[in-house]
Amino acid sequence: MTDLIVTGVHKHFRRRWRSGSSEHLRRRWRSGGREHSGRHGRDADGGSVHALAGVDLTVPSGLLVAVLGPSGCGKTTLLRCLAGFERIDEGSIRLGSRLVAGPGRHTPPHRRRFAIVPQEGALFPHLSVAGNVAYGLDRAARQRGRVDEVLELVGLAGYGRRMPHELSGGQQQRVAVARALAPRPEIILLDEPFSALDAHLRAELRRDIRQALQEDGATAILVTHDQEEALSLADQVAVMRDGRVVQQGTPTEVYRTPVDAWVGGFVGGAVLLPGVPSPAGVRTVLGDLALRGAPPSASALTVLLRPEQIVVGPPAPDAVPATVVARDFHGHDALLTLRLVDEAATVAARVLSAADPPSVGDRVGLRVTGPASAWPA
């Protein structure tokens, strides 16, 4: 078992010089990837940014863990600390029983065997595809045909002689993944590798990359701000906020049972309503709702429902009357914004297109299906 275990990692940055508009600065921004925009906690002297404020994360061997968070939450800093490009200030990073970084220890990047797949591929422009993939291999591995093996895994068999500039963006990302896979690293670090690609290309590439990782038995961490990407791709999702991992679990767990309203709202569409405890669970403008788990002991609650839990039907005595005020059509489904007739509240509902969604102005009746989540308000 060589799980990656990150415990209590802290990282501070000095505020860097930000004025001036020099191009290098912006270039450095992009390449360095440190997320300056997020200044969660500042030190007492006001001059430093607490980018990681005690990160705990476990990456079980052979799994793909997505680190999901808004921009500026510290997720790229975490990735750079794992890779060894940044030195952690407190805490430890362990791989099985091996201490990779911690008090008095900083394994340099090239001895960690944590291969990175940067945001825009960062292929070596002077090397062919095969040269790029072979870069991290020793001679024996090259002769065993590892290069062709991983190129085939990512669906680029026969591309070895091309140069990076002859490839499309998606192909370059595939090569970058193959290059990282080739030396069979302990961990593969994926830094928002799909963000620069077109939507339709992205879905296909995601599937292929995930399959390649699984077939090679690789352990991987994917950093992303795209909740759909994290939920659809990863075995586990770790949600980060303000330099901390606030929840880690399977995609279903994180989506169904978020630890707080913020996580609930961040990982998917959310209807947040005020509520009070009731015998059935919680009383809201949508009626008495069942709760998932025990009700929190508080007199005022924040209740979370998913838009797909709200069923829209014709007005009926047992349904909550509402008026459709907006309809965002998405093709396969539509998101309705509904104003309740009796209460000053607006809720969102997701209805399938096949169910012939009502139009703006229609009177409808709302029902809730499935349990809600609630936290003290």
């Binding site: 010089w17 390449s31 407190e90 990175i116 825009e120």
Partner: protein, 545 residues
């Protein structure tokens, strides 16, 4: 030490922090923040100090001379006249270049002029003719071609590309959609041109005009050959003839002040005019072209006349004198000797320049910050100094401070380095961008150590750019005249000084081979510029600026 700095990015910085051990040592952190790359920073500061030697020493000597002697020199009759003449020449040439440069750019980019692609290239070519070669050409072909007007004509013809190139680039790059929007909002074509187009390209025109003004103030070759007594020529004469060299020093200081005044004036002007950035990222369309109608022959004739004067006259002069010059007895050995000296001095100059440029360029690319920005700016100050001032200052420096260097190619190399350092720094910074830190980090994450990454990634990616920069500096050194005249070891003539010597005694045939060689040398970077930017069509010009 530079290698070490070059090959690692954050890890090396992290290593420094490591010494501070875990927890926090705020002193170390603060220092680290101010000086992210201590070795690189120290090397850059040293390099900048070396390049600032001419300016600093000029100030030191002028101060040492003492106020009474400075005052005497300032009371010299004719000083006011000299100043006015220099300024007048600068103003006339700048105005002339604005007319020719902006006019050509408009005709080539925005009208249906016939053969406009041909003229687009031809208008840039005068850059390949050093002003003293152009001066020589006119003097040797036209009888009694001397004086203010003559120098103004030659300088206008040589310098107009400085205005033409950025203006044409701006015109080609200006978003036609804004003009269309103005038309759609009810403005007529003329109002649109003045209110929208001209405003968009004004920063480019200003930048070009500044280059011309600085160039005219510092030009030595053309004014010397055409015998117009401006500051540069007066400095040279007063140094060569006078026993009291305070006069030369004071004149140099005044010229430096004039140069600074123009630079500061431009900075202030720029602060008040906003810069215009293209908003939005839609694909560019070629702008609508204005139909010239009956004016086409007139425009065509105008452009042809300018091209004929700027390129035809030098070509005719070279053609007329070249064969006579080369067949002159003993000329080939003379040319070979001059060529040898030119190559040696320029190689030394390029080597020193690149050595100094490396740390400054790397610092700017890898550890940008206020310190790096200031160091980068300082290199431009010496670049703006006239060659004759740099040369003169280093003569004094050699005699009084660094005597072992005096009369060696190294002092000349130092002059070249002070003058051309920004060219090298730009090349190094550009090359460093070819190997962004992200690539080196990816390489390290694949298990290669810092040295291995430096050898397999950083060097192969940056070497071509650095090499190209060295070549550019080398070629520029070969053309340099005034500093070379002042600092070359006695008896060691270069192509440029031979041309100057022969021309000054009206030995036009003897001068021709040198002129031809120099034009050939200067044509190389101009050609590269044209090729790299895509050769023909309006987009070409885009790369020219």
């Amino acid at each position: 030490m530079l290698r070490h700095e070059a090959m690692t990015d954050s890890p090396s910085r992290a290593r420094t922090v490591q010494r501070a051990r875990f927890g926090r040592s705020s002193v170390r952190r603060a220092w680290h923040h101010l000086a992210p790359r201590p070795v690189l920073l120290a090397a850059s500061m040293l390099a900048v100090s070396v390049s600032a030697v001419p300016l600093v020493y000029l100030a030191v000597r002028t101060a040492e001379a003492g106020w009474p002697r400075v005052a005497t020199a300032l009371r010299t009759p004719g000083l006011l006249e000299l100043t006015l003449r220099s300024l007048a020449l600068t103003a006339v040439v700048t105005a002339g270049c604005l007319v020719i440069g902006v006019g050509t750019a408009l005709l080539v980019v925005r009208t249906d002029l016939p053969a406009r692609r041909f003229f687009a290239v031809v208008a840039a070519l005068p850059l390949a003719i050093p002003t003293y070669v152009a001066g020589y050409a006119w003097v040797s072909l036209v009888d009694d071609f001397h004086g203010f007007a003559a120098a103004a004509v030659v300088l206008i013809l040589c310098c107009s590309p400085y205005v033409y190139l950025p203006t044409a680039a701006a015109l080609a790059g200006a978003d036609p959609a804004t003009e269309e929007a103005a038309r759609a909002l009810g403005r007529g074509p003329w109002a649109t041109f003045v209110g929208v187009t001209l405003r968009q390209i004004r920063p480019a025109i200003t930048a070009g005009a500044l280059l011309v003004a600085l160039y005219v103030l510092s030009d030595f070759g053309a004014v010397a050959i055409l015998r117009v007594n401006t500051f540069t020529l007066a400095i040279f004469t007063s140094f060569n003839l006078g026993f009291d060299r305070t006069g030369a020093l004071v004149l140099s200081s005044m010229l430096v002040l004039l140069t600074m005044a123009i630079l500061v004036g431009e900075l202030l002007a720029r602060r008040t005019t906003t810069r215009y950035a293209r908003v939005g990222s839609g694909a560019r369309r070629p702008p609508e072209r204005i139909a010239l109608g009956y004016w086409r022959p007139v425009a065509l004739a105008g452009l042809a006349a300018v091209a004929l004067a700027a390129l035809g006259v030098p070509a005719a002069a070279l053609a007329r004198w070249f064969s006579v010059g080369v067949s002159r007895p003993g000329s080939l050995t003379e040319i070979a000797a001059a060529m040898g000296n030119t190559l040696t001095f320029s190689a030394a100059g390029a080597a020193l320049t690149m050595l100094l440029a490396l740390p400054i360029g790397l610092l700017g690319a890898r550890a940008p910050g206020p310190v790096a920005a200031v160091l980068d700016r300082v290199t431009y100050v010496s670049h703006a100094l006239p060659g004759v001032v740099v040369g003169l200052s280093l003569v004094f420096f050699g005699i009084n401070v660094a005597y072992p260097l005096y009369q060696t190619p190294w002092l000349l190399a130092l002059a070249y380095a002070a003058l051309f350092l920004p060219l090298g720094v730009g090349a190094v910074a550009g090359a460093a961008a070819q190997a962004p830190p992200g690539l080196e980090e990816a390489a390290r994450s694949l298990g290669r150590g810092p040295l291995s990454v430096f050898r397999t990634v950083t060097v192969p990616l940056t070497l071509p750019g650095i090499g190209a920069g060295a070549a550019l500096v080398f070629l520029t050194c070969m053309k340099e005249l005034p500093a070379t005249l002042l600092l070359r070891p006695t008896g060691a003539d270069t192509l440029a000084t031979e041309l100057w010597t022969h021309t000054s005694v009206a030995a036009y045939a003897a001068a021709a081979p040198y002129a031809a060689l120099l034009v050939l040398l200067a044509a190389i970077p101009t050609w590269l510029l044209a090729v790299r930017s895509g050769a023909t069509g309006p987009a070409v010009i885009g790369g020219g600026s």
